[in-house]
């Protein structure tokens, strides 16, 4: 398993397009250490690999559904600012072989 260092945390943040200040990096590093220690502890439990993974730590249900009210969308210029290249308002991509677009709804 990859060792989570402060450099790894900074690199992940950069890949996700945001920057951490040194205090934030330290905090995340500390939290990761706690998580990793917990994982090491779990790994030591006999038969843990045979258990089904859980999505939620305990049974929790809710009743909330969002009202169907649209909000103002992000401006096209801002959305497109993350794209490497474009044609008009569309994001330009290298052509991929085949038409995966059709396949996704299988």
């Amino acid at each position: 398993m990859i060792k989570v260092t402060k450099e790894v945390i900074d690199l992940c943040a950069e890949n996700l397009l945001f920057k951490l200040n040194p205090g934030q990096t330290d905090l995340i590093y500390e939290e990761f250490n706690t998580i990793m220690a917990q994982i090491d502890f779990l790994k030591g439990i006999k038969g843990v690999d045979d258990a089904e993974p859980m999505t939620f730590p305990y049974s929790e249900h809710q009743r909330f559904l969002r009202q169907d009210k649209p909000i103002k969308p992000v401006k096209a210029e801002l959305e497109l600012s993350n794209s490497h290249s474009r044609i008009g308002n569309q994001i330009k991509l290298p052509k991929v072989v085949g038409n995966k677009n059709d396949e996704m709804d299988e």
Binding site: Q62, Q67, I71, L80, V96, D102, M104, D105
Partner: protein, 479 residues
């Protein structure tokens, strides 16, 4: 060997909500590319999905119309795949607990009713739209996150006609419920059809091909018929059908290979951890089911009772807006559903099409239309005059009673007045009288025409005919 085709259909229905399935971005069509998203649709860090209530209501309504069991708790799952059309790297869907399970729809084909099972219907999100040019692909995220209901049929169909009717029936259901605009040409209803053949009498399914790119009902029939023929030829020549994805080529009028399917893709489904299971109140489900619009099959029964023919009913049902106008007019006391149908589906529809207008653009009220129909039904004006009045109503929106009065179109039904015209005509047409009395029926029509001409079209033709007959009918004749 005789083969039996087996057909199953998956339909993706875009739900007509105002906002997306899991975000509050607007759901629109035809806006500038990449202008209809919020950070969640672009998978920005920290954004979370929140389920759209209206999409759930629409899902419940459609499932209920298809006689399905409705889930009391909503669960969502991740379908993982890496492709630019979904920036999260997965689609949120309902792989393991669909909102609707085990229902059916009824298809009426050549007077016979057949049931097609619906295995499940599940809520999910649409992907971004890609356009593949010769050297690059273009990506537009506007569609990304639009609510979809995927409806999966059982493999219960066996012909192109059944496949067409099934899709048509689903389209009727979703459009009549107001849950989708069902426009296949715009992609708001997309069909994938699985077709296989098996020896007649066998219960084992053969190897299937999946057919995509079917954007009209007619294409569905053509593609299925083509695939049945193609697979039959392969099997009869001793070959075996490969599992492949094909698409309908409109220009070539045949299905063409897109890709071979060697292994099933492992999407590594797992429960969507960002959506806690959602319990649906019984009251919520009850309200959704009991606020459903009337469905086409209910209208079919009602319209048949009104005396419309099957042809008239199907023509009318092809546009729900016309059905609503028709229904309103019936409630307002129209005396002749048939005359109303003719006005709506011939004169009014023709005018609107010609002028690229919709029923919303009509310049007159439903009351005015009912009034005109009842005037015609009472014989106060004839059908030619009614068309003239309706044309003025369509152009100017005036009240039919006023138009008839202003134009002096009201039929003369006063026996005395018509009798004068009849006498005048008979005096000048001795030959026609003789012809009629010798058995030439056409001579009677000519005489009625002359009376109408003399009265400038105002004489009631039925009355005119009766009076002429009274005067020229040979003694003892009942004709």
């Amino acid at each position: 060997m005789e083969y039996e085709p087996v057909i199953g259909i998956e339909i993706h229905v875009e739900l007509k909500t105002k906002s997306k399935m899991f975000s509050s971005a607007p759901c629109t069509f035809g806006e500038a590319p990449n202008s209809q998203t919020v950070p969640f649709d672009l998978a920005m860090p920290g954004t979370m999905p929140v389920v759209n209530q209206e999409a759930v209501i629409y899902g419940i309504k459609i499932c209920s119309a298809m006689h399905m069991n409705i889930a009391r708790t909503l669960y969502f799952d991740r379908k993982n795949y890496f492709y630019p059309d979904l920036p999260k790297g997965y689609q949120i869907t309902q792989q393991f607990h669909p909102i609707g399970t085990k229902g059916y729809v009824e298809l009426v084909i050549d007077g016979k009713t057949i049931k097609v099972g619906v295995d499940n219907a599940h809520l999910e999100e649409d992907t971004a739209k890609q356009v593949h040019l010769s050297d690059v692909s273009l990506l537009n995220f506007n569609r990304c996150g639009t609510p979809l209901l995927e409806i999966v049929s059982d493999p219960d169909m066996h012909t192109g006609q059944e496949a067409m009717k099934y899709v048509e029936t689903i389209r009727e259901i979703v459009t009549y419920l107001g849950c989708s605009d069902g426009k296949m040409e715009n992609g708001s209803m997309r069909c994938d059809i699985n077709i296989s053949l098996r020896p007649k009498g066998s219960t084992t399914l053969g190897t299937k091909s999946e057919c995509k790119n079917l954007n009209t009902i007619a294409n569905i029939g053509s593609a299925v018929d083509y695939e049945i023929k193609r697979q039959t030829e392969i099997l009869e020549s001793g070959g075996s059908v490969d599992q492949e994805t094909r698409r309908w080529d409109e220009a070539l009028k045949r299905t063409v290979l897109m890709r071979k399917k060697t292994n099933a893709i492992d999407y590594k489904y797992f429960r969507e951890p960002n959506i806690v299971p959602i319990d649906l109140d019984e009251g919520f489900i009850y309200d959704a089911v009991h606020s459903m619009n009337k469905l086409p099959n209910q209208y079919r029964v009602e319209f048949r009772q009104l005396g419309l023919t099957d042809y008239q009913i199907e023509e009318l049902l092809s546009d729900r807006e016309f059905v609503l106008v028709f229904e309103d007019c019936i409630k307002l006391g129209v005396k002749s559903p048939e005359i109303l149908w003719n006005f709506l589906m011939v004169e009014i529809l023709g005018y609107l099409n010609k002028n690229e207008q919709t029923l919303q653009d009509l310049k007159f009220s439903r009351d005015a239309l009912v009034s005109l129909v009842n005037i015609v039904h009472a014989g106060k004006i004839n059908s030619r005059q009614a068309k003239e009045v309706l044309a003025i109503m369509l152009e100017e929106g005036a009240d039919p009673v006023k138009i008839i009065k202003d134009k002096g179109l009201e039929q003369v039904s006063d026996t005395g007045a018509i009798e004068n015209f009849v006498d005048e005509v008979l005096a000048c047409n001795a030959q026609s009288i003789a012809d009629y009395q010798k058995g030439k029926d056409r001579a009677l029509g000519y005489l009625v025409g002359q009376v109408l001409k003399a009265s400038h079209g105002k004489a009631n033709p039925t009355l005119a005919k009766e009076l002429i007959l009274k005067k020229i009918r040979p003694c003892g004749s009942n004709k």
